[in-house]
């Protein structure tokens, strides 16, 4: 046991030097490491230390289901009209999560089913599962019900898209290193360190940014409109800033332009009034459509609709051919800019709600780091002093192991690109206290064996051998609770568990292997007849 071959000694020192040096970049301000050519690994600071915002966004899966049925409704309507012969349908309804409609001519059932299959997928898709169940009731009524497999897939793809949109919007804010992760079935975790104004972020994420241009239905009867009723083919939408009185307006159901026909959106100022506005540029298809519709509807108003609420309803004075338009509507520079960002990044396929949020001001983070470093330093000093007066030379070895262990934990944390949180610092301080436990076990055992009358070498050998088994068992149980914390914990608790788990692994290396080497070297060199322990 006291026999340490040269390669083993070299190996142990090599591991220590490597891991300790990995911790060094984390202590240097970033500007020092920038010129190195490579990006050295460093420990990331959690939001509670760096300051910043954590948001947990949740999508309502019912919304996804509802909008899917709505989409299917539009698809069915166009599909039935598209080909010859036209299939006339009526009594179309999308209530209760189902789509149902009536065929005017029951003899067209087979043809209609054929066309439905072409838009709902024949079931030979990626998953091989049907996304819609098609039923025929009373020989002429079709009922389309989304299957749960189809719904799951729809939620999945909506969430993937939503995550992407959220990422684009946050990138537009120009924040540093945001983390955006999909979590579970219908959630997105957003972490933005060092953010000064979380309000802007939340406003931005709260917008669905579904933009539509629709013609205003000028024939709607104002009395009917006040009751929320619109003529066939039209719908009533809220219009909070209507200069003409009612906060409601009737518009045609079919949209001229939708948000996906944009190629750009910018905040600008209205050349006449100097008020902030959002100017948008259409893509090729959008530009052509807008030109055609405005040419056919000169002197009629159209509505600019954002998230199902009308922002403004300008008159078409002349055909708009340049593929550009501006949205006016009582914006501030900031709100216009936000809308421009939201439009550029695309519409969210589903509404997101903030179900959990925490924001830490940068001052508190800085205070916490200072307090954490101070507490760690004092903890190390106390433990080191205590070990020294208790175990003398063997205490020095244990202390060396503890101090090296602190840096190794940091090094490993940097290597795995881990995040240090405030509870993580607590984990550190605890690890300092417990890493010496292994040495306490060993040293107490050596004391005991000496009292039993064993000579120095035997006592040390037995001490390490007997204690190692105990240390292994104690660490395994400890690791069990660490792993459970890591798996089930969220945010800060995970940060604590990571440091704890790394500490358990590295302390076995430093407290057992490393100190054994030091003790062995001492015994071989000095050949002491007796030891003070």
């Amino acid at each position: 046991m006291l026999d340490f071959p040269r390669w083993k000694v070299v190996g142990i020192w090599l591991v220590i030097v490597t891991l300790v040096s990995l911790s060094i970049p984390s202590f240097l301000p970033e500007r020092y490491t920038q010129g190195w050519g490579i990006t050295p690994p460093r420990v990331n600071l959690g939001l509670d230390l760096a300051g910043g915002s954590y948001l947990l966004l949740e999508a309502d899966t019912n919304d996804v289901a509802a909008s899917r049925v709505e989409q299917m409704r539009e698809q069915v309507q166009t599909e039935m009209r598209r080909q010859d012969p036209r299939i006339e349908i009526g009594e179309i309804s999308s209530r209760g999560g189902k789509l149902s409609f009536l065929l005017r001519d029951p003899s067209q059932v087979d043809a209609a089913r054929e066309r439905l299959l072409s838009i709902t997928g024949s079931g030979a898709g990626m998953t091989g599962q049907r996304e819609w169940d098609i039923q025929v009731v009373d020989s002429s009524r079709f009922v389309l019900t989304p299957t749960s497999a189809g719904l799951t897939q729809a939620v999945n793809s909506a969430m993937d898209l939503a995550t992407e949109v959220v990422r684009r919007r946050i990138d537009e804010l120009g924040t540093r290193e945001p983390t955006i992760i999909r979590q579970g079935n219908n959630r997105i975790v957003v972490q933005v360190p060092g953010l000064q104004n979380p309000q802007a972020l939340k406003d931005l994420l709260g917008k669905t940014a579904k933009l539509e241009f629709k013609l205003v239905d000028v024939n709607a009867d104002p009395a009917q409109l006040a009751k929320g009723q619109a003529p066939a083919g039209s719908q009533v939408l809220p219009y909070p800033n209507n200069p003409g009185g009612l906060p409601l307006i009737a518009v045609k159901r079919s949209a001229i332009i939708t948000g996906d026909m944009l190629s750009d959106a910018r905040q600008e100022f209205d050349p006449q009034t100097n008020a902030p506005q959002v100017s948008i540029t259409f893509d090729g298809q959008g530009g052509r459509r807008f030109a055609r519709v405005t040419r056919e509807n000169v002197n009629k108003p159209f509505a600019i609709i954002l998230d199902n609420s009308v922002i403004s309803a300008p008159n078409i004075n002349e055909p708009i051919l340049g593929g550009r338009a501006a949205i006016n509507g009582g914006f501030t520079v900031e709100s216009a800019n936000q809308l421009a960002i939201a439009l550029r990044s695309g519409k969210l396929p589903v509404d997101l709600r903030i179900v959990e949020e925490s924001t830490v001001g940068p001052d508190l983070g800085a205070d916490s780091i200072r307090a954490g470093i101070l507490a760690s330093a004092v903890a190390v000093a106390l433990v080191v002093a205590f070990m020294l007066v208790t175990y003398g030379r063997f205490g020095v070895y244990a202390n060396l192991a503890v101090v090296i262990n602190v840096f190794i934990i940091l090094g490993v944390l940097a290597l795995i690109n881990g995040t240090l949180t405030l509870p993580g610092i607590a984990g550190f301080v605890l690890t300092i206290g417990t890493a010496v436990d292994a040495n306490v076990l060993i040293n107490e055992r050596i004391r005991e064996e000496r009292r039993r009358g064993r000579n120095v070498v035997q006592a040390v050998e037995l001490g390490y051998k007997e204690a190692s088994r105990t240390i292994f068992e104690a660490n395994v149980t400890h690791a069990i609770s660490g792993v459970i914390m890591f798996v089930l914990g969220s945010g800060p608790v995970k940060g604590f568990a990571v440091v704890l788990l790394i500490g358990i692994a590295t302390s076995v290396f430093t407290a057992v292997l490393f100190t054994r080497m030091l003790v062995a070297q001492y015994l071989r060199r000095a050949k002491p007849k007796t030891i003070t322990i």
């Binding site: 924001t359 903890a379 106390l382 104690a474 149980t477 608790v493």
Partner: protein, 323 residues
């Protein structure tokens, strides 16, 4: 150099004889802790209860009643104020806002901040967090699940490595530690949040650590002194490991007290829970879990040949210190 020894060599305390007393006391305290927890309830943090928490730091120690008055005037529900440590830093707790959407919550945060900034010049925002009722339910579930899984996992490990009695006695001692911690939080009404669950899991980890060390020694001594009576073996083992038990507890406590006084107020509840847990865990290691082994009927393997016939305690290798 004369070295420090917290525990003198060769203690011979009859812990097993004290077990009647210890069990009684432990049972009493556990029942009391459970009763207090149910009676007074825990002061759950926003993570577990849902709602809104705003932390503000004031230029000087503010009058709490005035702060409450300013917040109450905003019509955002009944405010709970807390200070812990730094008297200038105040935590304001508000219930989940009506309407339940982020708009209402944002508005409430803004209103409170603006009002406080106006009433108390120099007041600055430190942090805030909001948790919806749905998420808080999940966090409670996950927290409880983590604790139960940790206890079961470790108990299983103890049964697998040792005898079943070790597993059972360990679990009993852990449940005791857990109840004490809960009772502590019920009495002090310190905020019980997600971080405290981490503290509880760590307490479980360390407490078991302690017990494993003693159990390990009991097993070793059972093999060494096959004729010795169980109560002698347990007394011997607890006494032999006593210096280590005390040393380790003291080093961890040293580190934790540094954290308690210097680590900032955010971690204070967490650290207080750990300190209590270490104390309680050490007690239950020494007095509860090992003595329970006798009650559970742990016996040395019967019929096994005894390699050392002189295995009585007075003949055991417990020689005095060498000069």
């Amino acid at each position: 150099m004369k070295l420090l020894k917290l525990v003198p060599d060769d203690t011979n305390i009859d812990f097993v004889r004290l077990r009647g007393l210890a069990f009684g006391l432990t049972l009493l305290l556990s029942v009391l802790a459970l009763g207090i927890t149910f009676y007074k309830g825990l002061n759950f943090g926003v993570d577990f209860e849902g709602g809104l928490m705003i932390e503000e730091r004031f230029a000087q120690k503010p009058d709490l009643d005035r702060v409450r008055e300013v917040v109450d005037r905003q019509g955002v529900g009944e405010a709970q104020l807390q200070t812990f440590g730094d008297p200038r830093t105040i935590t304001i707790r508000l219930p989940v806002q009506q309407g339940g959407n982020e708009g209402a919550t944002n508005a409430a945060v803004k209103k409170v901040e603006a009002a406080l900034g106006q009433a108390f010049p120099g007041a600055e925002f430190r942090r805030y967090s909001t948790v919806s009722g749905k998420v808080s339910g999940e966090l409670i579930r996950n927290g409880a699940l983590a604790v139960v899984l940790a206890i079961l996992g470790i108990g299983l490990f103890a049964i697998f490595r040792f005898e079943w009695q070790f597993g059972v006695s360990t679990i009993v001692a852990i449940v005791h530690d857990l109840l004490m911690t809960l009772g502590f939080f019920a009495i002090t009404q310190f905020e019980f949040d997600l971080n405290i669950v981490a503290a509880v899991l760590t307490i479980i980890g360390y407490s078991i650590n302690d017990k494993i060390v003693i159990d390990d020694r009991i097993r070793e001594n059972m093999r060494r002194y096959r004729r010795m009576e169980m109560r002698e073996i347990i007394n011997l083992s607890v006494n032999e490991t006593l210096p280590r038990t005390v040393m380790t507890s003291v080093t961890i406590l040293l580190a934790l007290f540094a954290l308690l006084f210097l680590g900032g107020h955010v971690l204070r509840g967490f650290t207080a829970a750990m300190i209590l847990g270490i104390l309680v865990g050490t007690y239950s290691s020494i007095y509860v879990s090992s003595s329970l082994l006798i009650t559970l009927g742990l016996r040395a393997e019967p019929g096994a040949a005894d390699e050392r016939p002189r295995g009585a305690i007075d003949q055991a290798e417990r020689v005095g210190p060498r000069g």
